[in-house]
Subunit: 336 residues, 2 copies
DNA sequence: TTGTATGCGTTATCAG
DNA sequence: CTGATAACGCATACAA
């Protein structure tokens, strides 16, 4: 037998409404009765039933976080989510979304339809899936996206400045004397992937370095992707003097590749990435990279969602956080 | 105005009970009425209200996962959790637990008291916190622990065989001719830390290699911990020929340290870890380590909890999964 | 095979 | 300031 608000009311000698008032810190309760209620709660070890509250308020007090696959980038997102979760008044629901799995789609549709969450934080590349887009559009559920592909006026989102970051990095390499700078892209349906490519190109143009199509390699934002792409690059007749990978995962793969082939980094080859994940710092010789402030992004996105849920007017629904060059030891003067 | 079971009943021309039967796949509904109900549901785009169902069934259909801090080990746990979440009938609630934060304690206590979760998966080292232990004991909530410190008959848990793994690894080093094998411990309140130390010692004893107290260094299961400990070891007058770190994070830190000081790995120094996190494979020259089958552990723990919740008799409430040596390139013959 | 009535534990309404 | 009573949307004895 669980103790309910009724028991408390009985014990305190008042109505359940008064108990409810005390629980929810509502005004118009005399200090005296409040004290009595508090004591009764204490005595009975009472805790309100969450499901009942959810039912009547028509809210779930839960926000969902939608993640695709499980990579280092996703881990970084979850890490930060965990860190801030304890200060939120909302529960956090972990939801994976694999577009290919039908079961995954059904679960997500239920989650939204049954209103098990009040809002959603959506991480890339979930947002590019057509089924999801339509589902979200028709359900009209509060949401904030993290680095989405689409930046229409309607979507609330938080991104990093990928264009600027890639520009800075390419500039850094150019300043070190590099002219043959390879770029490893990510998937073409990632906003990050595209913007970073443009930033790279813009920097080359700015410094009048001719673009060489062979130096841009379609790859993945993964270790394996970078590993393979670097192998291809390094076996070519005219290898680059620097490899700029679109993500740290890929850069780490490229680094491993280079070391396996006996290239000295950075003496014979410069390698750099993007995101500044913990691994970038912890891998010898220390990966030069661009900080994609994922911690701040997650935090801003979460609190933005909370603001939207509280129906307060939201200041900025579109935030782009600046990037910063993180120079470590994997890049150096060009070698001839 | 949301559509409820009542609307569906009206539309289908039957009672709400019948609708309820169809929704829950109960028998004793004629195929004909079932079809009518299904059509009504479709037409009205009806989805049952989860909170109402929770209230009346007195279940939350949610399992919580308790995590302390956010490291690579935790990330691996969450990764796996995500992967299997889509096939579960339960939602997954992410809950951080920092013993030091009072706010964190309050949140957790609420979570349990208000029955917002039906059960809990508890990850190390949350289980060693006195407040948590008492909270769990008094609340009597279904739970499964991952590699807990305490293995009493009452606790359901899933662990790796840390003792055996450490024994195998030490044996591997001994077989390579190493006699001065350093061991970097983790926190003393981690079961993994203790068992691994014992395994290391047992192997030394088995092969009649004298124990040298100076070769065992109290450290942390972190990159920084391994980095610092290795520095100390390598600067000593009689440095070891091999460093066995109690975790991959620490091993990676030690590896970085060695490379920074110009030691060749594995030619001049062997380094190995424990856990076989993705980083172990992706860091040059490839870290020799012991597989702590975290994916299986998480999966087993989750399904064990589900079994407990379903009130089916649980076969094994105590599972210890075997370890396996993963030999890569960071260990080699002793150098003289 | 189907339906009726009741309760789950809150919050909200509105009169005192 | 306080309280009786009605929702909230579903499941579930029990009756038909």
């Amino acid at each position: 037998m669980t103790t309910t608000i009724k028991d408390v009311a009985l014990q305190a000698g008042c109505s359940i409404k008064t108990v409810s008032r005390v629980i929810n810190n509502e005004p118009f309760v005399s200090a005296q009765t409040r004290e009595k209620v508090l004591q009764a709660i204490e005595a009975l070890d009472y805790a309100p039933n969450f499901s009942a509250r959810r039912l009547v308020t028509r809210k779930s007090f839960t926000i969902g976080i939608l993640l695709h696959e499980a990579g280092f980038y996703q881990s970084a997102i979850l890490s930060r989510m965990m860190d801030i979760s304890y200060q939120l008044d909302y529960d956090i629901l972990l939801q994976s979304y694999f577009p290919s799995h039908n079961r995954s789609r059904v679960k997500l549709a239920q989650l939204i339809h049954e209103r098990r969450v009040d809002g959603l934080v959506i991480t890339p590349p979930c947002d590019v899936d057509p089924f999801l887009r339509q589902l979200l559009a028709s359900a009209d559920i509060p949401q904030v996206q993290i680095t989405p592909l689409n930046r229409s006026r309607q979507t609330a989102f938080v991104s990093g400045d990928d264009y600027q970051g890639a520009f800075l990095m390419t500039e850094h390499l150019i300043n070190l004397g590099h002219k043959r700078i390879a770029y490893l892209t990510g998937p073409r349906n990632h906003r990050m992937s595209i913007d970073r490519l443009y930033g790279y190109r813009a920097a080359l143009d700015t410094y009048a370095i001719p673009q060489d199509r062979n130096l841009v390699l379609d790859s993945e934002f993964t270790f394996a992707g970078g590993y393979t792409a670097a192998k291809i690059m390094l076996f070519s007749d005219t290898p680059p003097s620097a490899i700029f990978a679109g993500s740290d995962d890929a850069a780490l793969g490229a680094l491993f590749s280079a070391q396996e082939l006996g290239w000295k980094v950075p003496e014979q080859l410069s390698i750099c990435g993007f995101n500044d994940l913990p691994q970038a710092q912890q891998t010898w010789p220390g990966l030069t990279t661009v900080s994609h402030p994922i911690s701040d992004i997650v935090e801003k996105a979460t609190f933005m969602l909370l603001e939207i849920l509280s129906v307060r007017p939201v200041k900025d629904k579109q935030i782009i956080l600046p990037s910063k060059l993180i120079i470590r030891k994997s890049t150096g003067r060009v070698f001839d």
